[in-house]
């Protein structure tokens, strides 16, 4: 128990240190922007990992919630006169409500059927966003008003670096703590065997639904943060490919590993940036890297590496 507490503390400390120290080596504001993108994606991936890694349920439509969060802070101030910070909350609540309502029937489904149902949900939301152009600007996207807190207009890539870094720390802290609560243990029981979990009195349906709602809120907040940061939003953020990217982050980093989700997000966000040199070959290389890393590290980067280190340490 004690070592578990320590490990959790260590993870948070290392993450906080990384966020604090990285700016010292950044040569330009472009790096702040890329790092903020990593923090935002990692936040969404950590949430999705609670659903996939801990509760063992797949979602191929998770970008829908990311999109709802992003469009809430775009539409709220522009069309409805809601202050930006309140729009962020509205987005989170909307995502939670949608996840709750749809999750109940959807989560009865298993395996590939759950995958197609969540995929369908994601496609529907993305399609509504790109079709209702009166509200959302359609496929071209729409601008997002700056976030203002007590008269302070938040802008600048370094400012957003610290805000998204703080959000990620908070998200990581909650996810790590969740692991050690009755809810977290119920999630893991679910993951290992639904039947066994049911036998020992875990309300399977309720906990799946909880994990789905938590994951949706994480994604929604990440979406809002990205929209504020970019000052612009388009339907791709809610699309199928973004959902796939989120799932890939989680699986590539390691299912069930919170650190893994951050590593997975870092790889998937920085890789295309690094590959822009080979612009023409970007897709080709991205696909190749995904295939190769999944073949050779099928449990994900972090679990594979830590198992390797453990073995090295013992011998």
């Amino acid at each position: 128990m004690r070592s578990l507490m320590n490990r959790r503390f260590l993870t948070l400390a290392v993450l906080a240190l990384a966020i604090a120290v990285l700016p010292l080596v950044f040569p330009s504001s472009y790096y702040f922007r890329v790092a903020s993108l990593v923090w935002v994606s990692a936040l969404a991936a950590i949430g999705l990992n609670i659903l996939m890694g801990q509760a063992g349920q797949v979602s191929l439509g998770h970008a829908a919630f990311f999109g709802i969060g992003a469009y809430a802070v775009a539409i709220g101030p522009a069309h409805l006169g809601i202050p930006p910070w309140a729009a962020l909350l509205v987005g989170a609540v909307l995502s939670a409500v949608l996840a709750y309502l749809v999750g109940r029937p959807i989560l009865r489904l298993k395996g590939h059927y759950l995958a197609i149902a969540t995929l369908g949900l994601g496609v529907l939301v993305a399609m509504i966003i790109s079709t209702e152009s009166r509200w959302t600007g359609g496929p071209d996207g729409m601008p997002v008003a700056r976030l203002a807190l007590f008269g302070w207009r938040v802008s600048g890539s370094d400012t957003w670096y610290w805000i998204t870094g703080g959000l990620l720390l908070a998200g990581t802290w909650i996810a790590l703590n969740l692991d050690d609560t009755p809810t977290g243990r119920a999630f893991r029981a679910l993951h290992d065997s639904e039947v066994a979990a049911q036998v020992v009195g875990v309300d399977v349906a309720r906990f799946k639904l909880q994990a789905f709602v938590i994951a949706a809120v994480y994604a929604s907040l990440a979406g809002s943060a990205l929209a504020f940061m970019n000052g612009f939003i388009n339907p791709d953020q809610a699309g199928f490919l973004h959902s796939v990217e989120l799932v890939t982050m989680v699986v590539l980093g390691g299912l069930g590993s919170v650190v893994g989700s951050i590593v997975g997000a870092a790889v998937l966000v920085t890789l295309p940036q690094a590959l822009t040199v080979f612009q023409e070959y970007e897709h080709l290389l991205l696909g190749l890297i995904i295939i190769v890393s999944m073949i050779f590290m099928r449990n994900g980067i972090v679990p594979t590496l830590s198992a390797l280190l453990l073995r090295r340490g013992r011998s």
């Binding site: 059927y113 197609i116 023409e280 991205l286 696909g287 295939i291 099928r298």
Partner: protein
């Protein structure tokens, strides 16, 4: 009446393509348990290779044959280089690998061909045929007929050849199939090759109607996947029916309700069907014992 017939035929035409994609999904899923998200890329390869071979002066039928061969080679390579080395990995890992393969193939197509839309000439001209008042493109008959031939050929292969029975045995129980001396690795390679060929044929048939480009695969894979689910995963007949139903839903939805939400309509119906019948329309009900 003429309008209804028009929607019916265009729905069946698109549905036939979805059916072929779904059939490809089912073949691979049954033989290996893998949900192959790169299925749409086989369709893209079928169309694109034919277009570029034809542009290089190869006669159309031969260009189509070349495209099918290219797709089969890609399918076999996909199995040999990406699926076989990851044997025993979890279902979600395998899904990610096929998604990676789909991105890779799209990337290769983008580099080797281009990012433009391309068209093939219709096989027997563009003069619409009058069917009870509905104007039907002759290419529709090619699509429907081609799909029917593929389905029939697959049926005969599975039911009446030793190799086909080996595929069915592998689908039913891989371990038992291996115990009676079936080389399941060969069967899996066969499934990937066959599935690629089916996809490529679909791509060649539909390109004169819908055009093709390097990225048409994604949406087709989604629709095909949805059709396979709708019919009940792993059921070939269900896949064909699921594809046709999906095509009809889209055509009638676009015709009578809203054409902007044409694609949404299909997914909405799938959600409703899955809520009501979690195993798909024609799937076997699995009873869970506790």
């Amino acid at each position: 009446m003429a309008e209804f017939l028009q929607f019916l035929i265009s729905g069946l035409t698109v549905g036939a393509v979805y059916a072929l994609v779904a059939l490809g999904f089912t073949l691979i899923y049954n033989a290996s348990g893998v949900v192959n998200f790169a299925q749409g890329e086989f369709v893209m390869l079928g169309g694109m290779v034919t277009v570029f071979a034809a542009a290089a002066g190869v006669p159309l039928p031969l260009a189509g044959l070349v495209a099918v061969c290219v797709a089969v080679a890609v399918g076999l390579l996909l199995h040999r280089l990406a699926i076989e080395p990851a044997r025993g990995a979890s279902a979600v890992t395998l899904i990610i690998i096929t998604i990676g393969a789909s991105i890779l193939l799209r990337g290769i197509a983008q580099v080797m061909f281009d990012k433009q839309f391309h068209k093939l000439p219709a096989f027997s001209g563009d003069t619409p045929v009058d069917v009870l008042g509905a104007a039907v493109q002759p290419q529709s008959f090619w699509v429907l007929g081609g799909a029917a031939v593929v389905v029939l050929a697959l049926y005969v292969f599975l039911e009446h050849t030793v190799l086909g029975k080996a595929v069915l045995a592998t689908a039913a129980n891989r371990l038992a199939a291996r115990l009676v001396g079936i080389n399941t690795t060969t069967i899996m390679a066969l499934a990937f090759g066959g599935s690629a060929a089916i996809g490529a044929v679909a791509g060649i048939l539909i390109t004169p109607i819908t055009l093709t480009s390097y990225d048409v695969g994604t949406l087709l894979a989604l629709k095909g996947f949805a059709a396979a689910m709708l019919g009940g995963m792993g059921n070939p007949l269900g896949a064909v029916l699921g594809g046709l139903i999906l095509g009809l839903l889209e055509a009638f939805g676009a015709g009578y309700l809203s054409s902007t939400y044409k694609d949404a309509f299909a997914f909405l119906v799938i959600l409703v069907v899955l809520f009501a019948a979690p195993q798909g329309l024609f799937g076997r009900r699995v009873v869970e014992r506790v």
